[in-house]
């Protein structure tokens, strides 16, 4: 996958802490920082329980709640319901 360069500033203490931990883990500074940041980012994404939406999205949700699922939605759910797992065939 294509990657991009990101520049960031660290204090000497922060850099030393990161480098020490990376050395202890046997990986490079870059690898350590990427792994740590991605883990934090994914946990933040999946643990988020409060969603603040712009008006259009909020109205879209409320309209669907009051009007009920569309036909296309119900059909998509029904298709999932019909799926047979290999050991059920």
């Amino acid at each position: 996958m294509k990657s991009e360069v990101v520049n960031l500033r660290l204090t000497a203490e922060q850099k030393a802490s990161i480098d020490y931990a990376a050395t202890q883990a046997g990986i490079s500074r870059t690898e350590f920082m990427v792994l740590a940041a991605i883990e934090r980012a994914m946990d933040a994404r999946y643990d988020q329980v409060r969603f603040t939406l712009p008006r259009e999205d909020f109205d879209y949700l409320l309209d669907n709640v009051s009007g009920g699922r569309t036909e296309a939605q119900s059909e998509a759910i029904e298709r999932m319901n019909q799926v047979k797992l290999p050991w059920e065939k």
Binding site: Y46, R50, F51, T52, L53, R55, Y60, N64, S66, M80
Partner: protein, 150 residues
């Protein structure tokens, strides 16, 4: 085979879905999350093996603070969250993910009969959101999240 049970009934926590972060969360944080009540996790089993899992939590949807009026809905509006869902590498592309989703939706509907909740939310990575939107979830414009009315 294929039974879906609460995480705490599983005899092992061995699980590899090919996603390092999800694997790590499952092996190191899922039990703590259960104990704290942050999420309830359900696993599909093949004998002792974990085929896949998903997690549910209470959630809320709010409108940006600058906006007035919410068509009579409370702000925030109660919802449920399908926080994580993953299938083990050996069982991918067999329909397990869909079965887990169907189970999560049915469980959420049952919960919403007893506790107020309008929709089931998901917050997938942008590259996998299509999996949810092609299976009945509706995408928001302003975030990676998607929802299904309960």
């Amino acid at each position: 085979m294929g039974k879906i049970v609460p995480l705490l009934s599983a005899s092992s926590l061995e699980f590899d879905c090919g996603d390092e972060q999800l694997n790590r969360w499952f092996s190191t944080k899922a039990i703590q999350s259960e104990a704290a009540g942050f999420s309830r996790n359900y696993v599909m089993l093949d004998g002792p093996n974990i085929v896949g899992f998903y997690s549910l939590s209470a959630a809320a949807v709010d409108i940006e603070p600058s906006e007035f009026g919410a068509k009579g809905a409370p702000k925030p509006t109660p919802a449920l969250l399908l926080g994580r869902i993953a299938v083990a590498t050996n069982y991918q592309s067999l329909g397990v993910g869909k079965r887990l989703m169907v189970d999560a939706i049915a469980r959420s509907k049952a919960i919403a009969k007893r506790v107020g909740a309008t929709v089931l939310l998901v917050h997938p990575r942008p590259d996998v959101r299509g999996y949810f939107t092609s299976n009945g979830f509706l995408p928001f414009e302003g975030s990676d999240a998607a929802f299904l009315t309960l």
